[in-house]
């Protein structure tokens, strides 16, 4: 019997990690992820979670300790944000290249400079190509559920890849939301024990991390690419199973009134919920608009995205990160790339906004959609539109 309780999302995420019986937690504190690692430290100190908590001296060492731990076959978790994710950047491709299952919660926060502790997606975008599976959530319930799924996906014998679960800093980490925490017995049944196939063990010695001369590097990378691409099947199957057991179904691309809509707004993260209200209000005024929310960022859900926008004429993308000197929004670039070769080419209008913790209101979204429709009609001399800057 599960009840819905009001709990701070960070605490709920830490509780989810506890329910998954994480065994090694190596973490370094950084705003706004601190409540997650603090609560985990409490749980370990009280004996509620039987794990080793390594209070490392930097995020680089946090991820490195996770490498050692995952390689030994222990269930491994860490959390970070922004500058910490940037500092770990060297280690992230090593985790995926060496096929080590590590779960990381990222509290999305803007990258310096200037220093900002508030939410945006620039940190997520800076680690796009590191080979990690990446899932984005919009509210606390999704965060809890996807942490549980992340452990199952990462440790699956067919996957064995590290997984990031992205949740917006402050907007999610520091708010109290109504969340249903699953029963421990249900989680135990859903999550098998971690059985890494070739762990570091003196009974069966293996050598991990050799160097690849040019003659085999390409083969090694291709093997990794095939693996992350094929992991989508496992992710979908996991979400289906989760839906059956816990009653909440997740999809790589979440559709909100997008079937049949001529104009679609594409968003990621917690700001999507505000955007949904704007969509509702516009639809009440008989506007043919819908919303698509990206949940699975890597591996990129090409088919599901194309299917979701097939009836649309205009896709308006809101990015919470900017690719400086480039095409503006990383998500918009990827959406454009996914749709480029389609027989009927849609208009994609790219907006960059809500950077560094700035909010966009319901009215703001309605404005954005109107402006997007206008730009789709008349064209624009800009590669993308910056939303909300005071000129």
């Amino acid at each position: 019997m599960t009840t819905r309780v009001g709990v701070e999302v960070s605490i709920a995420v830490a509780d989810a990690v506890k329910m998954c019986n994480a065994e090694v937690i190596a973490a370094y504190p950084i705003t706004p992820q601190t409540h997650i690692v603090e609560h985990l430290a409490e749980l370990v100190a009280n004996g509620e979670l039987d794990a080793e908590y390594i209070p490392v001296e930097s995020e680089h060492s946090a991820m490195s300790a996770c490498l050692g731990s995952a390689a030994s076959g222990a269930r491994t978790f860490t959390a970070t944000s922004s500058q910490g994710l940037a500092l770990m950047n060297e280690v992230l491709p090593v985790a995926s290249g060496m096929r080590l299952p590590i779960i990381m919660a990222v509290a999305n926060r803007a990258l310096s400079a200037p220093l900002s502790i508030w939410a945006d997606h620039s940190d997520m975008m800076s680690v796009r190509d590191t080979g990690w599976i990446q899932i984005i959530v919009e509210n606390g319930q999704q965060a809890v559920d996807n942490i549980i799924c992340a452990f199952r996906i990462a440790e699956d014998r067919r996957v064995l890849l590290p997984v990031m679960v992205h949740l917006d800093g402050f907007n999610l980490t520091h708010v109290i939301e109504p969340i249903i925490l699953p029963e421990q017995s249900e989680v135990n049944a859903f999550l098998p024990t971690n059985k890494y196939p070739l762990p570091l063990n003196p009974d069966k010695p293996v050598a991990m991390g050799g160097f690849a001369p040019p003659v085999i590097y390409t083969e090694a990378k291709w093997a990794q690419e095939v693996c992350i691409r094929d992991s989508k099947e496992v992710i979908l199957a996991c979400w289906d199973e989760f839906g059956k057991v816990f009653g909440r179904q997740y999809h790589p691309v979440e559709k909100y009134h997008s079937d049949g809509a001529k104009v679609i707004l594409l968003t990621m993260g917690s700001i999507s919920e505000t955007a949904s209200v704007a969509i509702d209000e516009m639809r009440a005024d008989d506007e043919n608009v819908g919303q698509v929310r990206l949940r699975l960022w890597r591996p990129f859900p090409f088919e599901e995205l194309r299917q979701a926008v097939k009836d649309a004429e205009i896709v308006i993308v809101l990015d919470r990160a900017i690719s400086l000197g480039g095409p503006g929004g990383p998500v918009a670039s990827e959406v454009k790339a996914a749709l480029y070769n389609q027989a009927r080419r849609l208009k994609v209008v790219a907006f960059v906004g809500a950077l560094g913790g700035r909010d966009i209101t319901v009215a703001g979204f309605k404005n954005m959609i109107k402006k997007g429709i206008e730009i789709a009609r008349t064209g624009s001399k800009n590669e993308y539109e910056i939303y909300g800057v005071r000129e």
Partner: protein
């Protein structure tokens, strides 16, 4: 040394944990030091290796030279990776998962990966008190990438990034004292060793691994390629480094210093320096400067070893004088 000049197969285990067929340079002191270090241990070990000579020459895919479980990830994080392995084994054992008993974690790195880029991770791991051993194989420069200077390069040595020139005599700073840094972390065991004193090295490595908590061993590994000396002088140079006081052999157990070798008089450093191409350019005053500094450092060490033992005679390996009961 007590075990000198006795039948080697009876004293040292036959099994090579580090297989021949590795790609170390001809006459590599580091390869020798690794071979010896692991001969002192059993097979119940997990090795975490930093990027460097030892890692590269043993791990060209798809083969490996190691007979032990081994992980290499990056250059500066060996101590952090070792911390992760140690913590994982601790919790898995506690939860009753199938892992062998008493598995020891050994982290190995070069001087660059220890005293420069790896210092943070090492300091963190030592401070947290993980039960592991960290062995630094010191060949006194970034030898794997072609002899660039590190903070462990001795004063006056010519390397490619501290070259000899009109405005430079080579390395401009004194060698960073890594064993002292390890001692400052209050760990139970710190030792220095050299492959030219193989039984001493093996004893120290075995002791370090058997110590509960963090242990640090700093092994001088002669590099004929980088030091510009003949390939067969590797053992001799190690002996000279110790006998001139440039690289003293000692142990620090729970803060108590103990010299491993009783040297009533130090040989002049010139004997050591002149055999290496990297020091050939040094003028007499620079050599004198080095001589003075080596003597001061050695004296400091002797004083630390004698600290608090005014009533006890210094134990002497050479057997001179009575050792108290």
């Amino acid at each position: 040394m007590e075990k000198y000049a006795v039948y080697v197969p009876r004293l040292v285990q036959k099994k090579e944990k580090f297989a021949p067929g590795h790609r170390a340079c001809i006459g590599c002191g580091e390869a020798l030091a690794i071979r010896l270090a692991f001969k002192a241990l059993d097979n119940n070990i997990i090795v975490a290796n930093a990027t460097g000579c030892a890692e590269i020459f043993a791990s060209q895919l798809p083969a490996t030279s190691w007979h032990l479980p081994w992980i290499h990830t990056l250059f500066e994080n060996t101590a952090a990776v070792a911390s992760g392995v140690e913590a994982a084994y601790k919790v898995m054992r506690r939860k009753g998962r199938l892992v062998p008993e008493n598995t020891k974690v050994v982290a190995i790195a070069g001087d660059g990966g220890t005293s420069d880029i790896g210092l943070q991770a090492l300091s963190g791991a030592l401070e947290r008190g993980h039960d592991f051993t960290y062995i630094c194989f010191d060949n006194e420069a970034y030898q794997n990438t072609g002899n660039q200077r590190s903070s462990a390069t001795p004063f006056g040595a010519a390397t490619t990034t501290s070259p000899l020139g009109k405005k430079s005599i080579g390395q401009f700073s004194w060698k960073k004292n890594m064993p002292e840094i390890a001692v400052a972390h209050n760990i139970p065991y710190v030792a220095t060793a050299c492959h030219s004193y193989p039984f001493d090295l093996m004893d120290k490595v075995a002791k370090a691994v058997a110590t509960k908590g963090p242990a640090y061993v700093h092994i001088l590994s002669v590099c004929p390629t980088g030091w510009r000396s003949a390939t067969d002088t590797v053992i001799r140079l190690g002996r000279l480094a110790v006998e001139t006081g440039v690289f003293p052999l000692y142990e620090v157990e729970n803060g108590k210093y103990k010299m491993s070798l009783n040297l009533p008089k130090l040989r002049p450093v010139k004997d050591y320096l002149k055999q290496q191409g990297r020091f050939r350019h040094l003028s007499d005053d620079v050599i004198q400067k080095i001589q003075d500094r080596v003597e001061i450092e050695y004296q400091k060490l002797l004083e630390k070893a004698n600290y608090g033992s005014k009533t006890t005679k210094r134990k002497s390996r050479a057997g001179a004088g009575k050792v108290p009961a």
